[in-house]
Each structure stands twice: as structure tokens, then as C-alpha cells.
Amino acid sequence: MSVALRLRRPSGVYRAVAAGSFRRYATYRVATAAGVLTNTVFGYVLAYTFIALWAERPQLGGYDQAQAVTFVWIGQALIGAVALLGGGFQEELHERIRNGDIAIDLYRPVDLQLWWLAFDMGRAAFQLLGRGVVPMAVGALAFELRLPTDPAVWLLFLLSVWGAVVVGFAIRYLVGLSAFWMLDGSGVLMLSTLVGIFASGMLLPLTVFPGVLGEVVRWLPWAAMLQVPADVLLERRAGGSAVTGLVFQAGWAAVLLFAGRLAQSAATRRVVVQGG
């Protein structure tokens, strides 16, 4: 089927965008290899610090030592796909709003949010394969990990990772749209990345956070980005608890995607295209 024909169906457009995005990220082979190397090195360093911490306090945060080390490697494997340390599309969206190219995007007969969602799905799919598999495998070879043998748990984990990507997308879409109201959005980009690192579990598992702080961060949307999928794979969330985790992700995804819609319609009313 020719591209033109495929694009005539509305759902075909988004599939084409996702596939194109997958291919685009697959092009940067050296950068991907460098990313894999970095994630693996950080995985090693953090794994040893977690081993030392759990040696002092076994069962801290409800994990045993092997589970804690596994948590580290899950985090490293998801950094790319869930864009836990930044990256992704929001900087590009930001730039398009700043330089006015957004007017062209709005002129297209596609929905802006769905377009970028499709784009981000393609990116995440590539980065899960390209940047996730190798660090996880290295971690499993070098350390004693606690990985499930039941394929159903792995499927549930993949579903949860998908949820994590959607929640992450919804947050980053809001961050990207902020450029409509701010001339220099680099501060917002940075702040959102920092909050993400802190509240997703990237820094330490959220169950280790003390007192009220721990209670609060476990309910924030960022918890859906690493803590929930990790707990599903570690079977700390099994059965009904795993379903609750997925509902938690779906809930935040719905709320944040809806907020993105509102922001989008408010923003597009503001667009004034300069010049002829």
C-alpha cells in the first residue's frame, strides 16, 4: 500500500508517525551504544551502593537485597524508554513553539496531542529494545537478581511499562506546551526533570523515603513511571495489587492527558501567526 493511501485513514497517520519515530531513533546507533554503556556503568555503581545499604538494613522498604539490586537495573533499563532523565520530544515541541513552526503543525489535519503521543510511543518502543535489554542482561549476569519466571508477570510488566510511558508523555506534553506562556522554558524543562528523578524512584525506591514524604511521593504521578512497573516485575505487586497499580497508572494517564487537552485548546487560542 502506498504511503498516500495509508495516510488517508486517520489511524494510519498515527501508526506511520510512530513507525517513523521508531526508525528515526534507530538511526543513531553510536548514540544508542553510548547510552547503553552509560546506563550499564551507572547500574554497576548504584547496585553496589544498594548492596551496601541493604547489608546494613535487610528488608529496607520491603525489598530483600536481590530485589533492591533488581530495582536498580529496572531503573537503568527504563531510563531511555520512559525518559526518566529527560530526553524525548518535549524539547523539540518547545523549540517549535518558540520559533513558530507550531503554526504548521496546527495547520495539519491531525490532532497535535495524538501526533506527539504516537511519536513518543515509537521512540519509547525503540529505546526499550535498544537501551533496555542490554543493561538488564548485563545486570542479570553480573549480579544476583530477582526476576520472575512466570511469563504472565513479564506481560503485566510490559503493560505497566506502557502505562509508565503514557504517564511520562502526558507530563512532558504539559511541560512542552508551557512554552506558549513562557519565552524561555529551559527552567521548566529542568525543574520537571529534577522532580521526575526525585519522585519516580530513580533516586531511591519510593518505599525507602521516610514518613509523610514517602506517603506523598507514592501517590504522585511520577510514581507511575518507575515505582509501579518495578513493583510489578519484582512481584511486590502481584495479583490484585498489580491490577491496582495498573489502575493507578491509567487514572493518572487519563487526568494528565485531559489536562494536556485543556492546555492545548487554551494555547491554540493564543497562537497568532506573524507575518504573511
Binding site: 543513531y28 553510536v30 548514540a31 551504544a33 553510548a34 547510552g35 554503556l37 552509560t38 556503568v41 551507572f42 554497576y44 555503581v45 548504584l46 553496589y48 551502593t49 548492596i51 551496601a52 545499604l53 546494613e56 538494613r57 529496607l60 524561555d184 529551559s186 527552567g187 529542568m190 525543574l191 529534577l194 528523578i197 526525585f198 533516586l203 531511591l204 525507602v208 523515603f209 521516610p210
Partner: protein, 270 residues
């Protein structure tokens, strides 16, 4: 040499003026740099809310290690951090512009987009270092003048060692333009590792960062003298004072590799 440094200062001053034109953005960026660097220390504090010692080190001792490596890395980032943009410059062709100017390419790259906001990390590192000195109490009170000198030498040597790694990483990008992230393994990855005591890590890993990539000389080795501990790997005591020599050797190797890389650079033309 004096001319070259003057050019560096002029370029850096220009970028500082540019950054200060948007005062609010600049302050936000400094704050961001401060917080980004501080997150790791938050993790350490959360860890120590559950434990008394990590790998046999108290929180004050870990803070000394953390403060030293953060300050060193912060100073390196500030002074030569943008050398890591070599790949981008080769790709878009602006490297050629630098080559025809009468200032050493390395200094031009280092000063290009000089980011004063990186004082955020330096400040954060210094604050943790100051707190560590306070919290070390009796240990610090017993320091000889030589040990105080070693503290300063440790931070400056660390800055030079990280600087050599940045230069090597930049040189590597002449060959692999997309590999900017590789050097992060050694700089940021190394920094994360050095924030924790050497006793936490496997012996092969400690050997690797002592004899292959001499990161251990940034803080682990000299700090063992300040904390009255065995040198990592049981090295003889005099090794504690060798950080400046290691730093000089690392910079020498980096300078050589940089020279080879620049000389082997072939522009893509038009």
C-alpha cells in the same frame, strides 16, 4: 600562553554578560544546577536516615568524599565543560571556524558558551564540604597544616583529573561524533561512584579506577589520609600525597591525545 588565556577570559566574559542579560533565567539555571547536583546528596541523607554507617563510613566521612568530588567536578564543568560539544561542532561544521582563529582550539571550545550557572554545582559541593568539616569535629580538629594543605590539593587535583577526562572525551568525539555520552560514564559515573566509600565496591572495580582510569586519586586516596583510614587497596601511605602527580600525568596524556585528534581532523568541506 598569556595571550591564549586572555582570549579564554574574553570569550568567557562575553558569555557571562550574555547569560546575565536574562537575569531571572540565569538565577533559575543556577538554582537548577544546584538542585540537580544536590539530589544525589538527598539520596545519601535518606540512606543515612535508616543506617549509622555505610561500608563502615559515617555520614560525615561520606560527606567529605561527596563534597570533594562534587566541588572538583563542578569546577571542571565550569572551566572546560563545553569541550564535550566537539561532536556537535564537527557535525554542523562550525569546528572549521575555530581552527582558523589564532587561539588554541581547546581553549576556544572550553570557553564557548561558558556557563556561569555551573557555579550551582560548585556551591553545592562546597557547602557539603563545609558541613563535612564541621561534622567531622574531633578528627578535623587534630589535622596538621599538611593535612589542611592536602584538602586543598585534593580538590584542585581532582579538578585536573576530571579535566583530563573531559579533554579525552572531547578528543574521542573527533572520531565518534555521536558518542558524547561515553565520557559521562567516566565523569558523572565516576563522580557518583566517588560519592560513596571505596569499601562499598568490589575490589576489581576499585583497582580499575585506581590503576586504569585514575579516578580514585580525585578523593578516595587523599581523603584516606584526612580520615585516618587505610588507603584503598592497602596502598602504601605516601601514595596519599600523589594526586597532583597523577593529575599532571593524566593531563599530559590528554594533551597528547587531543593533539593527535585535532591533527587528524578532516573537515567534510562545504
Amino acid at each position: 600562553m598569556a595571550d591564549a588565556l586572555r582570549s579564554y577570559a574574553l570569550i568567557a566574559a562575553m558569555w557571562i554578560r550574555a547569560a546575565l542579560a536574562y537575569r531571572a533565567s540565569f538565577l533559575l539555571a543556577v538554582l537548577g544546577s544546584f538542585l540537580a547536583s544536590g539530589l544525589d546528596f538527598v539520596a545519601i541523607m535518606i540512606m543515612f536516615s535508616h543506617i549509622e554507617v555505610l561500608g563502615g563510613f559515617t555520614v560525615a566521612e561520606v560527606a567529605l568524599l561527596y563534597g570533594a568530588t562534587s566541588t572538583s567536578l563542578g569546577l571542571t564543568e565550569l572551566l572546560v565543560g563545553n569541550v564535550s560539544r566537539v561532536g556537535a561542532r564537527v557535525r554542523d561544521g562550525t569546528m572549521d571556524t575555530l581552527l582558523v582563529r589564532p587561539v588554541p582550539v581547546f581553549l576556544q571550545l572550553a570557553a564557548d558558551r561558558f556557563a556561569l550557572r555551573r557555579l550551582g554545582r560548585v556551591t553545592q559541593g562546597l557547602l557539603v564540604l563545609a558541613w563535612a568539616l564541621y561534622a567531622l569535629g574531633p578528627v578535623r580538629a587534630a589535622w596538621s597544616p599538611a593535612q589542611w594543605a592536602l584538602l586543598v590539593i585534593m580538590v584542585l587535583s581532582g579538578t585536573a583529573i576530571y579535566g583530563a577526562l573531559y579533554a579525552l572525551g572531547g578528543a574521542f568525539q573527533f572520531w565518534a561524533q555521536d558518542a558524547a555520552e561515553v565520557q559521562n560514564c567516566f565523569t558523572y559515573g565516576g563522580n557518583t561512584m566517588l560519592q560513596y566509600p571505596p569499601t562499598v565496591f568490589a575490589a576489581e572495580l576499585v583497582r580499575g579506577v585506581t590503576f586504569v582510569v585514575p579516578l580514585a586519586f580525585v578523593n578516595w586516596v587523599p581523603a584516606s589520609r584526612l580520615l585516618d583510614r587505610e588507603s584503598p587497596l592497602g596502598l602504601p601511605g605516601w601514595v596519599d600525597f600523589t594526586s597532583p602527580l597523577v593529575a599532571a600525568a593524566a593531563c599530559g596524556v590528554a594533551a597528547l591525545v587531543w593533539r593527535i585528534a585535532v591533527n587528524s581532523y578532516r573537515s567534510t568541506g562545504s
